[in-house]
């Protein structure tokens, strides 16, 4: 992945460790190389599923990869066990949304802080905010990173320091 910053290629390791521990007995230990391997596997998983989902989009001459495309790709690639709980998850997620646009914006803004408790969206919508969460930012060149959506991302959550927002959640030393 040319040009991708190292820390942006993987999920934050603190989050990964926390999830691993949820399924392990208390006395289990995890070596550092195992943690890093899981990080790499997760990124590979996202890329693998996304590529398949995107192929379907292109066949159907669509430009936006949707949640349905992701679920379809999982079933096609053998992750049948995932598709059922995730369909349930998506269904319930949509039912909990109030105003669709603000809810989607709120969920996006929640990710930089990664706080576990619920919180309201701290920012108002930028001018010309689009219903789908995409707008002129998607097509303007951005100096804030390597992706067109960086402007939209930073506008939504003040995600300026690329790694700092995750530093405060490293609370699970081995």
């Amino acid at each position: 992945m040319a040009g991708v910053r190292e820390q942006d290629q993987y999920m934050p390791i603190a989050n990964v460790i926390r999830i691993m521990r949820r399924i392990l007995p208390a006395h289990a230990k995890i070596s550092d190389d195992a943690k890093e391997t899981i990080q790499e596997c997760v990124s590979e998983y996202i890329s693998f599923i996304t590529a398949e989902a995107n192929e379907r989009c292109q066949r159907e001459q669509r430009k936006t990869v949707t949640a349905e495309d992701v679920l379809w790709a999982m079933e096609k690639l053998g992750f049948d066990n995932y598709a059922h709980p995730l369909s349930l998850y998506l269904h319930r997620y949509r039912k909990t949304e109030g105003e669709p646009a603000s809810a989607r914006r709120a969920s996006a803004s929640a990710s930089p802080s990664m706080q576990m408790h619920p919180r309201t969206h701290p920012h108002s919508h930028p001018p010309n905010y689009s219903h789908h969460g995409f707008g002129m930012f998607d097509f303007d060149p951005s100096s804030q990173g390597f992706y067109r959506d960086d402007a939209s991302s930073s506008g939504s959550g003040g995600f300026v320091a690329s790694f700092d927002p995750y530093a405060n959640i490293k609370r699970d030393p081995l």
Binding site: V42, S47, V65, N81, F134
Partner: protein, 267 residues
């Protein structure tokens, strides 16, 4: 052919190796019902069919057979319980807007592929939950590997071993190649391609096929002396390496496998 790293006796070796049969069919995990009692139930048709469809290395050892069956059943039960619990947790979740993984990071990884144009807001949400389950499934499988070796620390090769036993994880072979590459190098298979084309049945038989049928100096039944593995040492030279040969074709007519293995169920 499967290549495994072990640091314990021959009993564990065979069960480690034969286990891939259970996970050759991803759908089985979804279709199976959870076992409600700790007793192994040989009457489960899908499990029996799964077991007998995979050729065994040592059909004459009923003790190893029984041990293999028990471990396969245990892992399958753990996975079934895991998936049932996931559905239950999602059904009962009260806060669906708190995600255990950052959505912005997921989106960035999705868009690292230049062919991906636009990503809807819900796609990273689905991925956040999917990756959470993916991490837990890999961890659960790796931990089963650790327990069989009577260790308490998950190492990289536990993950590599787990990945090599389920076709659904073929896409990860290049992501965690080091243990297999080291093993293959020691077996004299330098330069062997590490990727395989999936086939509908028993893909595990075709992973990293060796160029020759026999591996001199590595017969089953005479394992090398085990050396205790230091913590965090991924490439300890004392690791035992066993190379198991399997027929290239599955059993055409699998038969139900009773709890006490009988000659008719042997491959």
């Amino acid at each position: 052919m499967q290549v495994h790293v072990y640091n314990n006796n021959a009993k564990m070796d065979q069960n480690q190796h034969v286990q891939p049969a259970q996970e050759a069919y991803g759908e089985n995990q979804y279709q199976s019902n959870p076992v409600t009692t700790p007793t192994v139930l040989p009457t489960q048709t899908s499990d029996s069919s799964l077991s007998s469809s995979y050729p065994r290395q040592h059909p004459n050892d009923p003790q190893l057979e029984a041990m293999y069956e028990l471990r396969q059943e245990r892992l399958q039960q753990q996975l079934n319980n895991f998936w049932a619990k996931q559905c239950q947790e999602i059904q009962e979740a009260t806060d669906l807007r708190t995600h255990s993984l950052p959505l912005a990071r997921i989106k960035k990884i999705m868009k690292s592929d230049e062919d991906v144009k636009l990503v809807s807001a819900e796609a990273p949400v689905v991925f956040a939950k999917a990756c959470e389950m993916f991490i837990m499934e890999l961890t659960l499988r790796a931990w089963a590997n650790v327990e069989e070796d009577q260790r308490k620390i998950i190492k990289k090769h536990d993950i590599a071993s787990s990945i090599s036993r389920a076709d659904v994880f073929d896409f990860l072979i290049d992501t965690v190649p080091r243990p297999l590459e080291n093993i293959l190098d020691q077996q004299g298979f330098v330069g062997l391609p590490t990727s395989t084309v999936p086939t509908p049945l028993n893909d595990a038989c075709y992973h990293n096929p060796p160029p020759q049928a026999l591996v001199p100096g590595n017969p089953y039944g005479s394992p090398r002396i085990a050396v205790g593995m230091p913590i965090l040492d991924q490439n300890h030279p004392g690791l035992q390496i066993h190379h198991f040969l399997t027929p290239m074709e599955p059993t055409p007519t699998p038969t139900p496998n009773p709890q006490n293995p009988s000659p008719s169920s042997d491959c």
